[in-house]
Symmetry: C2
């Protein structure tokens, strides 16, 4: 079994209003030392595969076709073997 | 400067329909080897603080008061020093 941890977030060129609101609200609450905020999604998938390479290929496909909007978002992932 | 990476996800006892839908849809697409799906949010905060401990305390407070719904969600975070 393999465990894939996938991180999806907006590309740097895309404005993320949610992150802006969090930063502004923190500032209003007096936490003005917070310099930047990034908001993303993460997914943990457990899957069976013949090899780490096969698992990575499948995860890549799942990201492209389903989990990420590749127009606006970028993704990265780690795949590690786990005991079932 | 410190960089905090925060992970927020539903507690195991809370049903996550989004994760269920992803798992079912993957199954319908033939990816039946995906055994489990977890969906969470992550945040990256850059903040200035006197020490790692002070940064961790602040991040803890921000999670409790803002980023996580502690009734339904749990969170964990890593804080690491970064060069400004």
């Amino acid at each position: 079994m393999f465990k894939a941890t996938i991180y999806v977030n907006y590309k740097p060129s895309v404005l993320d209003p949610k992150a802006e609101v969090i930063k502004k609200t923190l500032g209003r609450l007096g936490q003005t030392n917070v310099a930047s905020v990034l908001v993303g999604k993460y997914f943990e998938l457990t899957l069976s595969a013949d090899s780490k390479e096969a698992a990575e290929q499948q995860v890549d496909r799942i990201c492209d076709e389903m989990l990420a909007n590749v127009n606006m978002e970028s993704y990265r992932y780690d795949v590690a073997a786990v005991t079932a």
